[in-house]
Symmetry: C2
Subunit: 301 residues, 2 copies
């Protein structure tokens, strides 16, 4: 059976697995390192993984990288959370460890591929994908494909929603990420509930909102207002059939979905709203599966 190696590369971990041509993960490994700034730690680990999986006939390797990638060259422009990878020719450097083709894309594009083929957007022609966590990852499927630019593109998280905003990790200001990221939600909750000092997390604010706590509800209302206004613009551009919510914060989907939908119905142009669905992500092992599917679909092109 033809199989693919899918690599989900995070700030401090590698999840890797053998993926079949349906995107199903047959076997997987987890490896954690606090120091991927040292590129050799990453590169040699990929070599080990291939030895680990030597009983499989791996046709190609797919990697979802936590940053901006040149998808054509397979090089890294930069990784916001790992220093030292600026303009690094990853594909070229991996050549000595690999005797099969390797394809590299942004982790959000890889996540979207898993959701489009096996998850919540299965069968949809056009969808918007968001991974809500510390940052706001994103991708677009159009004509059932993740279209290729020179960069990994589709950085919807870095669309400004105010003209003079807070500094964002990307170097710009006022990006939607600065209104819906983890850190921002916690900070906002603390500023509304003065005196609150528990080391809470976003799940905590979610649970409190479910119980009807006013401060928590207000945080989710503001979150939904910003996200809804932003998404309306994206709907006016792409006329998607679905918007898929993944990442840690999507655990609160039940709380924010009706609020986001209300904003969208007020803001977006009505012809684009027909049949639009807001859905929670559901592909299993999306990072590994999507990276495997990236390898498979890139081989077929």
């Amino acid at each position: 059976m033809k199989v693919f190696l899918g690599i989900d590369w995070g700030g401090t971990y590698i999840k890797a697995g053998v993926v079949d041509n349906q995107g199903i993960v047959l076997e997987k490994r987890f490896f954690s390192s606090p120091d991927f700034r040292k590129k050799n730690i990453f590169l040699t680990r990929i070599g080990f993984l291939l030895k680990d999986f030597k009983n499989f006939k791996i046709q190609a390797v797919g990697i979802g990288a936590p940053g901006i990638v040149n998808t054509r060259k397979g090089s890294i422009y930069y990784l916001p959370n790992i220093k030292g990878w600026k303009n690094f020719p990853l594909k070229q450097k991996l050549a000595k460890y690999l005797d099969v083709p390797v394809f590299i894309d942004n982790d959000a594009n890889v996540f979207a591929l898993a959701e489009a083929r096996r998850g919540a957007a299965r069968g949809k022609s056009r969808a918007i994908f968001l991974t809500l966590g510390t940052g706001l990852g994103s991708s677009i499927v159009f004509d059932k494909k993740i279209l290729k630019a020179e960069t990994s593109a589709w950085e919807l998280g870095h669309v400004p929603v105010v003209l003079k905003g807070r500094k964002c990790g990307c170097g710009g200001r006022g990006c939607i990420e600065t209104f819906v990221g983890n850190r921002y939600l916690l900070k906002r909750y603390k500023s509304i509930r003065k005196g609150y000092s528990e080391a809470g997390d976003v799940e905590d604010i979610y649970k409190k909102a479910l119980k009807g706590e006013k401060a928590a509800l207000r945080v989710w209302e503001e979150f939904s207002h910003a996200l809804g206004i932003f998404l309306s613009g994206m709907i006016n551009i792409f006329n998607p059939q679905a918007i898929i919510f993944g990442g840690g914060i999507s655990g609160a989907f039940k709380v924010f979905k009706p609020m986001v939908l209300k904003e969208i119905k007020q803001q977006a142009m009505w012809p684009h709203l027909k049949g639009l669905k807001l859905l929670k992500a559901k592909a299993k092992d999306a990072g590994i599966s999507g990276a495997g599917l990236l390898a498979k679909e890139s081989m077929n092109n």
Copy 2:
């Protein structure tokens, strides 16, 4: 020779022409009517045009409509500046006047097609197209194509750039159109230059800025700030090779280009900026030519 009929339909006019398979306009007509709310005036006029051009072997008709279109069905969702066309099956109604296929799209998509094939974006894989006038029309070329959704899509002008903004003609609030449209620029100029009561137009503000008038320069600075912040978001999504500026306000390109570029360089993520060009539109008879090209390219699909 195979030729196509291209129709550039505005709020109060029809420009129509015979277009060859390169997009060159061989012969054209102009017709003006203040009352396209009466659909029969429009429909019978298309019939007359076909008679006018009966010596040409017209293969198909392309129409650029001033509003939101269902490109698959060839129907009109609505036209912001002409009442009474809500959910109108235009293609179906035209069938009795035409014995050739008809293809309908949004006027900004048609403009973009002309610029992509014969104008400033010729040869580019990915470009953003803006028509700056009363409203902000827009389109996207990706993989050298204007990708088809269910609606005519690509309504970048209705991306909000503030979270609580002024009412926009689209029904939403705070869209970029409300910061860069004709009316807004004039209003802003009058509010800065208190006491100014000349019946000036945007060209006037442009000329005054060239002469160094402070109030006029400030209007263009604010315009460029908003446009630059907005475009940075679009650049982070699409990684375009060019942004093409058309429409009446693009007459002031020389004044606003350096200011917009400065904003973009501060705001957009650097990997997306490589080789990006800001260019003025240049296709001749873009509306007619693009509509003819729409007909030609739709026949080939």
